[in-house]
């Protein structure tokens, strides 16, 4: 299976991509001490091309969040290596090369929307020469112009997640790591945010790694879909989604879309 996955990676490298945004080689991640050791990821290798939007699918417990967190330097790597824009994850984190969006909006409830977006500019001893964006502009970009002074409890779940995205964008990251960011939202809000995320991706050219539980979401957003299988977590499939951009929600009713989701569903059942 692993061999297949590796072979699959070759033809999907786009010709214009000169380097990888994220390069994972023979990654092993194990949790727990001796005796009670649990292997979350085993021999995972994958190349994320710069500027790509890669969605990560897999049965729960397959380690897709763990992989994302390892890229973000939130999890200790047991074996193998991760390179983010050619550096170890710790360096990339300190250099503000990536931003992370969690399933919960994780806003500070005592701060207004605009002050939450500005948080990354206040903390960490980051290089002041690094490019940053205006929090006001970022809020406008996610469609929250006029709600700058609102406290998180005055915003809906979808709006709070928009604030979280604006906060992630304020450091102008080259990579956006998103861990089921719309998982807790209702379907209508989720659809809307999906469309807007695609628009943001196309406008900013940011590389996006997006973990999801939903096959349609993975296909709709993904330029590539990375599927992991569980116990232990390894790469099952890395495939390009051949749907034209810009995509509208209606693309989900096309035969091609349904064909891809059906294929992924069949693969998921094998995991």
């Amino acid at each position: 299976m692993l061999g297949v996955a590796r072979m699959m990676q070759q033809p999907v490298q786009p010709a214009e991509a000169t380097r990888s945004a994220v390069s994972v080689k023979n990654l092993d991640i194990r949790f727990g001490g001796k005796g009670a050791e649990f292997t979350a990821l085993s021999d995972v290798s994958v190349e994320i091309p710069e500027g790509a939007l890669v969605t990560m699918l897999g049965p729960s417990g397959c380690g897709k969040s763990t992989l994302l967190r390892a890229v973000a330097d939130l999890v200790h790597v047991s074996d193998g290596s991760i390179s983010v824009l050619g550096q170890p994850p710790k360096k990339a984190r300190e250099g503000r090369d990536f931003a992370f969006v969690f399933q919960e909006a994780t806003l500070l409830p005592w701060r207004s929307a605009i002050d939450n977006v500005g948080l990354p500019l206040e903390v960490g001893k980051h290089d002041s020469s690094l490019p940053t964006a205006d929090p006001q502009e970022m809020l406008a970009l996610v469609g929250l112009k006029g709600r700058e002074k609102a406290l998180p409890h005055e915003l809906s779940g979808g709006m709070r997640q928009r604030v979280a995205i604006a906060r992630a964008l304020v450091t102008r990251p080259r990579i956006l790591l998103m861990d089921e960011p719309f998982g807790a939202l209702d379907e209508i809000t989720r659809d809307k945010l999906n469309e807007e995320l695609l628009r943001l991706w196309q406008e900013t050219g940011t590389t996006i790694l997006f973990v999801t539980h939903s096959i349609p979401e993975a296909v709709f957003l993904g330029e590539y879909v990375l599927m992991l299988e569980s116990l232990p977590g390894r790469v099952k499939e890395f495939m390009k989604v051949d749907l034209p951009h810009p995509r509208k929600l209606a693309v989900r009713d096309t035969v091609e879309f349904i064909r891809i989701t059906a294929k992924l569903r069949a693969l998921l059942e094998e995991c």
């Binding site: 967190r69 973000a72 330097d73 939130l74 984190r93 300190e94 503000r96 990536f98 931003a99 992370f100 969690f102 399933q103 919960e104 909006a105 994780t106 806003l107 500070l108 409830p109 005592w110 948080l119 990354p120 206040e122 903390v123 960490g124 001893k125 980051h126 406290l151 998180p152 409890h153 709070r160 807790a184």
Partner: protein, 278 residues
């Protein structure tokens, strides 16, 4: 009611909105609290009736009217003894809570410290405060110090427990976010942990506000010559029951006043809803 509103409109030359505001505030307070107001009034009336009907002697239990008179007759004494108690309760509140907060911060950052000193805090807490008072008077003499210490001790434990919980209340995802942002420990403390702990802290401070008065009074029972506690003892031994009751009312009033001061500060400081972050 209509007469009252109408009368105030006629009689007082205030801006129209403000007059309505005051009238509405009074009406609103009565409208929302009338069950409590009626119940309290009823209890006092019942008390007056029982004392009168059974001809209870004043030294045993004075009537509300007698207690009311006691306020007038002993105004100077009550005031003179209120101030030391207020000072002791206030200083005890400040020191007790300050030490509890600092200890909680230490506990959160050092699990060794928590393991070492938490049991001691529990042991100190389990000694009845009234049993501790004579010991402290023996050590620190009869001055203001043992009273402040006892008032402080009584505040200390609830604040310690709540503050430790509050400082640990920040969600793991929030701490992950701060790590992704390469925030320092100090930044995590000032920008996340401390603000997140404030609702927990104020819950404890409201308890401490009332119990600090209790601590000061209990301390004054042990061989003190001033303060509301001393006045309670003196009035009891001299069968001056109306004065005793008046002192008790003053002590309760002091505790309630401190409680409302803390509640007011809380409403100014905490304008967010803690559970809305998910």
């Amino acid at each position: 009611m209509t007469d009252f509103t109408h009368g105030s409109k006629q009689g007082v030359a205030m801006p129209l909105e403000k007059r309505n505001g005051v009238a509405e505030a009074v009406m609103g307070f009565f409208a929302s609290h009338y069950p409590a107001i009626l119940a309290v009034t009823g209890c006092i009336a019942l008390w007056q009736f029982v004392v009168w009907f059974f001809a209870v002697p004043t030294f045993m239990a004075p009537s509300p009217v007698e207690v009311f008179h006691a306020f007038g007759e002993n105004g100077a004494i009550l005031w003179a003894n209120l101030l030391p108690t207020l000072l002791e309760a206030f200083l005890g509140f400040i020191f007790g809570n300050l030490i509890a907060i600092l200890l909680a911060v230490w506990f959160v950052y050092s699990s060794t410290a928590e393991k070492a000193f938490y049991p001691i805090a529990v042991i100190v807490k389990s000694i009845p405060i009234i049993a501790l008072a004579p010991i402290l008077v023996l050590i620190f003499g009869n001055g203001i110090a043992p009273k402040i210490i006892i008032a402080g001790l009584i505040c200390f434990f609830p604040t310690l427990v709540n503050m430790v919980q509050g400082l640990k209340a920040a969600s793991p995802a929030m701490l992950d976010l701060m790590r992704v942002l390469s925030a320092s420990n100090a930044e995590v403390f000032w920008k996340v942990r401390l603000p997140a702990s404030l609702p927990f802290l104020f819950a404890a401070l409201k308890i401490a506000a009332t119990s600090s008065v209790m601590g000061a009074i209990v301390a004054e029972w042990i061989g003190s010559s001033y303060g509301l506690g001393a006045l309670i003892i003196e009035a009891t031994y001299n069968f001056r029951s109306p004065l005793l009751y008046a002192t008790v009312v003053i002590a309760a009033g002091l505790a309630v006043a401190l409680f409302f001061v803390v509640s007011f500060i809380e409403s100014r400081v905490i304008r967010w809803k803690p559970d809305a972050q998910h």
